[in-house]
Amino acid sequence: MASSAVSDSGLPDFRQPPVDEVALSIQFPPIQGFNIQHYGLYWQRVRGEYPRFEVQQPIRNMMEQFGPTKVGHQIGFELLALPEIRGWYLDQSGNRLVQIQRDRFVLNWRKVMGNETYPRYPSMRESLKNEWDRFCEFLKSEKLERPMVNQCEVLYVNNVEYDKGWSSYGELDKVVATLATPRAKNRFLPPPERVSMQVIYRLAEDAGRLYVSVSPVIRARDAKEVLQMSLTARGAPKSSSNEDVFDWLDLGRRWVVRGFADFTTPEMHVVWGKQ
């Protein structure tokens, strides 16, 4: 999950991690007065670095709650009168993009060609800090409120290719450590054709949750079917200050990286070049 060089923080590190995408997200209540025109005005500021723009459907507001309420509570858009969009600001390569909607700010890095090297978390963190500061400056110049951050999110998407340490879903226990139990003989069912699963963990001191999703997908860039293992850590920072927001993102990243190492088998760690 970390990248090709030495570990930056003592966390598990791989020379050839299966990571395909990383996203860092900051969520807040909808910014009052932030309208369609602001997407264009903001693009004017960042167009030198992000020359491509796409309109996407907005994504739902997600809140981790504890106690008697449900896991991963969703807040819908149904009661909002304004048309909602999500803007994608993409760099020329398409590897890096900033996503903005009225209640979210996200920085993504993703593979497009397939041979790119993940630019390590410290670099992503620094980029997000710069982009977030620039966005807040933009809001200030438009006389809009500074967002009050209510959730942070760290997503790592890993593509585990077939025939690299395992070959079929009957051998999923070679990938997922929690399935690594002795196989019973004389079972009625054959090996599964496909498997998907989601496992949810609480972060220590109810700081949020870690969602681990395992599912077969068709990869959009090459039509190859792979096992996609995505890890999402989400929770509330102590406050809306930059320090607390980035402290939480660091915490979420630690859970994602250590969770990935824990969730997967030592045999696959060898395949991915664990250092």
């Binding site: 996200v106 993504n108 998407v157 998907s196 077969p216 997908v217 959009a220 079917e225």
Partner: protein
Amino acid sequence: MTAQAAATNLVEQTPVSHVRTYGGISANGAIPVDGIEPWRTEAIQKVIQFGALPENWDGRGGVAPAMAVRQKAFEYLMSVPSIGAPRIVPTSGGGFHFEWSVGPREIEIYIEPDCTVEALRVLDGMPMDDNLSMNVSALFHWLVSK
């Protein structure tokens, strides 16, 4: 049969997409295929592969279907009943042509470069010039009816 050869029906798709993506903050566009029949998976893979066609792939200035067209094709493939794989060919202008046949009946679907979807019913090799707007389920109900 080409899109221009006979009148086609504008297809009304269901308003809610059946294509599941990871959604959320991911931007990698991967398509989950758990719970999807193998023919649909293979059809989606073909659609993706046609996105990599080189310029002038047919010697007539053909262009590869754009991402938006491929996305429309995914949505269509996920919305049709499970009656098996269609024949899938790209069109020179950057669209797709899907074709299903059951006995003497055929449905030809054209996903145009502007993402509109048109359909043509064919019976015993003859196009049906009915010009009716039909939704997906009505089209496929006609295909499998006796």
